[in-house]
Symmetry: C2
Subunit: 132 residues, 2 copies
């Protein structure tokens, strides 16, 4: 929370509410989910403020985007190096930690010799225990 000040972001009441919501660790929330929770604490809060702040926090490196399928962007408060499992039935997202991931390109079918790979993300799709 103090980190946001270091990044030049003012500590406004709205932001405090957002930090509070995010710290309650219901990870992978959409902007709207965050908004719905936050307005309970701060009814005047506007959706635009949520969107604006989420993006600023991403830029400041305090959050990350999550590009799962589905319509709305999700934000991940978990900055560890990790991957995701998505339940196709209920949409639940679970963090997946890997000890190791390795893959071998098929050089006859994909030529990645001139690209620079910065990161890789593994998405596992399936059915979670509750939906199974």
């Amino acid at each position: 929370m103090e980190k946001s000040k270091e990044k030049g972001l003012k500590l406004t009441p709205q932001r405090m509410v957002l930090f509070h919501i995010l710290s309650e660790d219901d990870r992978h929330m959409t902007a709207d989910e965050i908004y719905q929770k936050a307005r309970a604490e701060h009814p005047m809060l506007s959706p635009a403020t949520v969107y604006r702040n989420m993006e600023q926090l991403v830029e400041a490196g305090l959050l990350s985007h999550l590009d799962l399928g589905g319509p709305s962007t999700r934000y991940d408060t978990n900055l560890d190096d990790h991957h995701h499992f998505v339940c196709e039935k209920c949409g639940k997202v679970m963090d997946v930690y890997l000890k190791d991931i390795r893959y071998e390109l098929d050089p006859e079918k994909s030529d990645l010799s001139d690209v620079r790979i910065d990161s890789s993300q593994l998405y596992l799709h399936g059915v979670c225990g509750e939906c199974g």
Copy 2:
């Protein structure tokens, strides 16, 4: 193209145009890109028809969604088992074929014992040759 009939989809002129566009293999197009190309051949075509048909083709298993980040859904005509590289600069999407992929869960940090994994998708992010 004939496969769509097998799936109970009528062979309408609009669909023929869409099949033509899709067969020209400019893969990973958005619905709007498809629409823009298609209306050159069939000016009366409406966007709703494109969206409707793309979804039907996905359901029929003749196309697949692509859940990259970004606003609009992309469709993939490549039904092979493959993965993707996305250029962060220009947004270009390249198919990635792997000979092999294997990963080891960290059992202390992720418990996937009660989930069923149906598929996995690897997304590589980086900078392509042209943007590099």
